[in-house]
Amino acid sequence: MGPIHIDPQRAVAELTTFNQKLAAGLKTLRSLDEVDYGATPREAIYREDKLVLYRFRGETSPTAKTPLLIVYALVNRPYMVDLQHDRSLVRNLLARGEDVYLIDWGYPDLSDRYLTLDDYINGYIRRCVEAVAKRCNVEKINLLGICQGGAFSLCYASIHPQTIRNLITMVTPVDFHTPDNMLSHWTRGMDVDLFVDTLGNVPADLMNWCYLTLKPVRLFQQKYVGLVDILDNKEEVENFLRMEKWIFDSPDQAGEAFRQFIKDFYQANKLVNGGLRIGESEVNLRNITMPVLNIFAEQDHLVPPSASRPLQQHIGTQDYTELAFKGGHIGIYVSGRAQREVPAAIHDWLAAR
């Protein structure tokens, strides 16, 4: 016997179906308009430079007394948390009574090249936290940091713990030197000073290229072969295109902030090893004594679970909860399972505190 039992007649039928779907689907593809995104009404409550702080409006008034501020990564656009009506972390949190705010960092240009992590964390985030707290007339707010935004939130909460009631981190890298972290592995051979001095801001295309080359065959080929399977379904194609837009609609990275993030986090692993300074403040994760919920994705190839899990060992709180989500770095916001599990877990955890 042998490992392959492909009947030629069935195989031709399989390829024929593939071609038929492709031919029909390309017609559909041509007829589609630009996809829209962002499902939930929102209002801008604070602006500074290119940053806009939004408050989302749910169908009913929030019942939670403490507002929840989402701090997203700089490397992608934050509308992933509110991609479309049936794939929205924000919408599901609002439906459960949370009062949700979000920082949109905008698209940095070369005038933002000299923004530092101090400007982002002790500047922008601090003023956004103050704006939300003032508006809601509270002294402390809840903070939800996602991916790189999670690392920023850890820094912020350790420097300004008096302003945070509960901290939630989602797909957040903490230990950057675990053996399965390919992105970190690659950055450690880079001369980041030469890189930033040459490029100024780091172009989004270069960042995206780097992400795609983490899994080149899967992300640049198999994904599009899989797209043929759904080409006859307009709604599914629109979902795919919306996701495609999000993946490649990336901002450039402010050079100085990028330099410090790569040096201190990726190369020196200071969040874990210590010695991290943001401006004049030292980051000591032991200062994080508020309750912490740490959510990570089990199949995450960008931030492996091994990078997120060590958080518990390094923070000062006794109230630590971990949620391992069955999915990947993106599925954690947009999959059907995510819609059912993640907002409910966040809300229930907050409600209990």
Partner: protein, 348 residues
């Protein structure tokens, strides 16, 4: 399928399948792609004809383009695997034979020799962004010059620059050295990608061998393709997580940055000659502006902190005064009375 068929019978079967494929293709694209081509035409060429119809820009043309490029590779690969399957009785071939068929499917006719048996390099080349392409084009256009430099033993790159144009000469020497260094770094990177490609065939073969048991056998082209993708990613990850790759990857990035930096210096020099504002000048202004903003913010923040402290002090004092009205009032009354007496005496 019948094990007793002759080679001629298999050939007929294969031709019949090809006709069947093209008939189905013509049906699928009726009215758009013209006449069905000769049955012997490679199947992915149908997609190329189809792709030309989408040359006019539509809102999703980029996605369509990427989709078609992928589909072309997929169909070519599957045609090769199917041809291998048609030439054998069901389950007749061992894993190495399928691996050979996979290699054939990945090596499309007309493929750059450097990408032969190197599917990962091909994918990475297709993936390359506009920024990296520009550098590679530059490197390619300098290639004859750089080749000559190599033949001459690179001695002139280290030769001292002299005279009125010495600065320019030195700059071009540095740029040539940076380009040569970049070429070397890319070659070392490509060698590792080739290693990953070769390893992917070994892993594919191992994975196939693992499936040589009832209930695990592969029965569809898609399942075969997915297995190949798993093998390719596994091989790539093995290499990409190695210490050698980290070093080589870092060297490619650093070497490319040195080339860019040399080009930027040249552009700046031209900009200065033409009286145009340069990147360095703008950077300097932006840097000063950010420093100024930080200084102002620090002052505002310090003033705010001072105001808050003052407010807190005043609040504490007011609160303290409120807490002792009973003692304060009589004392105040006595003081006022003494003052009134003194004032009255003075008037007298």
């Amino acid at each position: 399928m019948n094990d007793r068929k002759t080679t001629q019978d298999w050939m007929k079967d294969w031709q019949a399948l090809q006709r069947q494929y093209w008939t189905a293709w013509a049906d699928a694209t009726r009215g758009a792609s013209g006449e069905a081509p000769d049955p012997a035409t490679p199947w992915h060429e149908g997609l190329e004809q189809w792709a030309r119809l989408f040359g006019d820009a539509s809102k999703q043309s980029e996605t369509a383009e990427r989709l078609l490029a992928t589909a072309k590779n997929y169909v070519a690969l599957m045609q090769s695997m199917l041809a291998a399957a048609t030439g054998k009785a069901a389950g007749d071939a061992a894993a190495p034979a399928w691996t050979e068929a996979l290699r054939n499917g990945l090596n499309l006719p007309g493929l750059d020799a450097a990408l032969h048996d190197n599917p990962l390099a091909r994918m990475l080349r297709e993936l390359r962004g506009p920024g990296a392409q520009a550098i590679d084009q530059l490197s390619a256009s300098f290639a004859p010059f750089l080749a000559r430099a190599r033949e001459e033993g690179l001695a002139w790159l280290g030769a001292p620059a002299l005279g009125y144009t010495r600065e320019h000469q030195e700059h071009y020497q540095k740029m040539a050295a940076a380009l040569l260094d970049y070429q070397d770094a890319v070659n070392r990177y490509n060698a590792l990608v080739l290693k990953a490609s070769r390893r992917s065939f070994e892993i594919f073969e191992d994975k196939l061998a693992e499936r040589d048991e009832p209930g695990r056998r592969i029965e569809t082209l898609r399942a075969l393709y997915d297995l190949w993708v798993d093998a390719a990613e596994e091989a790539y990850a093995e290499v990409a997580l190695s210490a050698e790759f980290r070093k080589v990857y870092g060297n490619v990035v650093n070497a490319q940055m040195r080339v860019r930096s040399q080009i930027q210096q040249e552009v700046e020099r031209i900009g200065v000659d033409l009286g145009m504002p340069t990147r360095s000048e703008l950077n300097s202004v932006h840097q000063r502006l950010h420093e100024l903003r930080r200084t102002l913010r620090r002052r505002d923040d310090d003033a705010l902190v001072e105001l808050r402290r003052e407010l807190e002090r005043l609040r504490t004092e007011v609160e303290a005064l409120r807490r002792r009205p009973a003692q304060a009032k009589p004392a105040a009354a006595r003081s006022a009375a003494r003052k009134a007496v003194k004032t009255g005496n003075a008037r007298k």
